[in-house]
Amino acid sequence: MSEVAIQIRGMNKFYGTFHALKEINLTVQKGDRIVICGPSGSGKSTMIRCVNRLEEHQAGVIEVLGTELNDEVGNIDVIRRDVGMVFQHFNLFPHLTVLDNCTLSPMLSRKVSQAEAEKTAMMYLERVKIPEQAEKFPGELSGGQQQRVAIARALCMKPEILLFDEPTSALDPEMISEVLEVMVELAQDGMTMLCVTHEMGFARQVADRVIFMDKGEIVEEGPPEDFFNSPKEERTRTFLQQILSH
């Protein structure tokens, strides 16, 4: 199985005159689990946000599931339905119950019936181990529970690809593991994942490849064993020392 999920070629992104991403090249096959790390401000979020076009790139090519993302792309919403995203700050809809958070887009965008959507939602809520919270509002849950709901919400769209932008960095330490556990299970089920995270244990355990970014560039890319044990670049070594020293 080597179907291409995401292909990025010579991609550049500017915020005004600020060159946020420089000549990014990246190919992600279906089923790949990729971890992206790097210092703050290096462009990790920007890069994965370009994949579902929450940010627009200015040069180069991004192809997602066979469709190139550019101004001609007729309906970006259709592509976004196949590319789920989990945010650092969960971004659950506070005015809807957990269940409604999970069923809203499947019903509106995929035209799934309510009964069907609720069945799927309960299945995924069970999978993230909080079916009993379905009728609560997001504000009544802990951070870890909210993030698991956010993962379930993304899964309810049955996406081909899941993007994670630092899903555990807004969580208290004791809640990180419950979220990571869910992510590990997803990885084992073969979900195509792009995770921005500094959880190196997670990277070692599930990643096929680790990508290190700095100053808007991909500096180094490789399987976790090589990446952690024998990083080639000086910048990678410095970063790893900093992050592993605590």
């Binding site: 579902n52 929450l54 919403d77 259709v78 592509i79 976004r80 339905r81 196949d82 590319v83 789920g84 995203m85 945010f87 700050h89 971004n91 659950l92 809809f93 506070p94 005015h95 119950t97 809203l104 887009s105 509106l108 965008s109 609560k136 509002f137 997001p138 504000g139 009544e140 919400r153 993304a154 769209m157 993007l163």
Partner: protein, 363 residues
């Protein structure tokens, strides 16, 4: 904490007499102020009750103001005699049951919109359009043998309710559209809307009503003019929309960007993002100023009198203005004031209820 603990704590707290003593009679100075204040309050209550209830006259057997000659209290007979004028204006006497039914339909619509089942843009819009249509058809007549009554003959409280409901019904969609367009990424559109809102807000309502009633007929082609009342309602709605649009926009801007991003990332269309995620939350955020705007708008309906519509306040003026009852203007104003009060008070209570409800689950 168990029930017993609560009881104990309450028992340990100050008793009613004790807390009264502490609050009002803690020192000789305080005691003096409390006594004088209390006496003053009692005197005011007594005087008002005396005037309004004990020494007042409520009905007039012969329809004239004779019964009120030489009494010290309120002459409520004026309401008995002229109340219909205040409520229905010059609507034909035999047809006033239609006005009554129409107002009841409006009231039912208002009550139904408090039921959570209707809290969804489509249902709420349908409810109001239907309620309003019933109101209009009943008032207008001209079918099934019902006498046709043109809006220019409507008046009193009924007309106030009509102009208010119609103005908001026209104004609210405009306000939402303005708020959304003002956030457009195209500078031409957002700039135009910003200019429009500022333009309307810089004009006094009177000017807008004048323009709608008197100047528009010279500018618009005949087929677009419509009846004067509709032009006035449109002007009224536009004025409401200019303010309400900014209120809604403030509600939208208070939302974290993550909300729209999450909806986008789920592949929701612009329409669904706006109607299911952004606007419901924006309205929650903007509830207190929205209720405020509704209250202000209700009172502003009284300005339509300057373009020749006899709404409730103007009808009130007419009710005592005819020589015979001219001494009873205080009673008439108290009555009209009471109508306004009941309305504004219900609205603010409803707002408080909504706020309480919406706080559930929102932390």
């Amino acid at each position: 904490m168990t029930a017993l603990d609560h009881a104990e704590i309450r028992a340990m707290g100050p008793s009613l007499t004790e807390s009264l003593r502490r609050r009002y009679f803690s020192s000789p100075g305080n005691t003096a102020i409390s006594l004088v204040g209390g006496a003053l309050l009692l005197w005011i209550v007594w005087t008002v009750l005396n005037w309004a209830v004990f020494k007042s006259v409520w009905t007039t057997p012969d329809g004239t103001s004779e019964v009120c000659k030489g009494i010290d209290g309120a002459c409520w007979a004026v309401i008995h005699q002229r109340g219909r004028l205040i409520i229905f204006g010059l609507f034909p006497y035999e047809e006033q049951w239609r006005s009554t039914l129409a107002c009841v339909a409006m009231l039912i619509t208002a009550i139904l919109s408090c039921v959570p089942w209707f809290w969804n843009a489509l249902r709420l819009a349908m409810l109001w359009v239907v309620g309003f249509a019933i109101f209009y058809i009943l008032m207008r007549g001209g079918f099934l043998g019902l006498l046709s009554v043109r809006p220019s003959e409507w008046g009193g409280l009924t007309l106030t309710v009509f102009i208010y409901a119609a103005g908001i019904l026209v104004g609210m969609p405009m306000a939402i559209a303005f708020a959304l367009l003002r956030r457009s990424e195209l500078p031409v559109i957002s700039g135009f809307i910003a200019g429009l809102i500022d333009g309307v807000r810089s004009l006094p309502l009177i000017t807008i009503l004048f323009a709608a009633a008197l100047i528009m007929p010279f500018i618009l082609p005949g087929w677009l003019q419509g009846d004067k009342i509709w032009r006035v309602i449109f002007g009224f709605g536009l004025f409401f929309a200019a303010y309400q649009a900014e209120i809604i926009r403030s509600g939208i801007q208070a939302l974290p960007v993550g909300q729209e991003e999450a909806a986008k990332a789920l592949g929701m269309s612009y329409f669904h993002r706006t109607t299911r995620i952004i606007l419901p939350q924006a309205f929650r955020n903007a509830l207190p100023p929205t209720i405020n705007q509704f209250v202000i708008t209700f009172k502003e309906t009284s300005l339509v009198v300057i373009v020749g519509f006899f709404e409730v306040l103007a009808s009130g003026n007419a009710a005592y203005g005819s020589g015979e009852w001219s001494f009873a203007y205080v009673e008439v104003y108290v009555f009209v004031g009471l109508i306004y009060y009941v309305f504004v008070f219900s609205l603010s209570r409803y707002g408080a209820y909504l706020e309480r409800r919406m706080r559930v689950g929102q932390h």
